[in-house]
């Protein structure tokens, strides 16, 4: 159950962060029109960034276990 709660917390955090970032990237004041294709592309780009950053961070932790933040 704990693992499941953590998984939900992670998914919620992901949804919130992607929404914030893709809203900022894809919607411009005065926000008249939606832009679904930009949001789709932004989500794909965010997930790729997430993967890229995970690799970089885990590589860094493994190089110097005492140096991670």
């Amino acid at each position: 159950q704990i693992s499941q709660e953590l998984a939900i917390a992670n998914a919620t955090e992901l949804v919130n962060k992607v929404t914030e970032n893709c809203f900022e990237t894809c919607m411009k004041t005065p926000y008249a029109e939606g832009n679904d294709s930009c949001v789709d592309s932004c989500l794909a780009k965010y997930m790729r960034s997430w993967n890229s950053i995970s690799r970089a961070y885990i590589q860094r932790i493994q190089q110097s276990p005492d140096k991670n933040a």
């Binding site: 893709c22 809203f23 004041t29 005065p30 949001v39």
Partner: protein, 70 residues
């Protein structure tokens, strides 16, 4: 059971309230550039309305997109 019910209703009311805090904070920054006039102009009101709706559009689209990935 009544207590559980009460807690659940309070909890979802509180979530709506906290979302409104978040949206107002975010959209005020985007749509309101000066505060010399305490009234909202028609343009500002429209911008606030669009801001919430586009944010919710984005949120729905992201949730659907993530469900498709899984």
């Amino acid at each position: 059971k009544d207590i559980m019910n009460f807690l659940e209703v309070e909890n979802s009311k509180q979530k709506v309230q906290m979302s409104i805090h978040q949206f107002t904070n975010m959209c005020f920054k985007q749509c309101i550039t000066n505060a010399t006039n305490p009234e909202l102009s028609a343009g500002e009101e429209q911008c606030l309305n669009n801001c919430v709706n586009r944010f919710l559009d984005t949120n729905i689209r992201i949730v659907k997109g993530l469900q498709n990935i899984q």
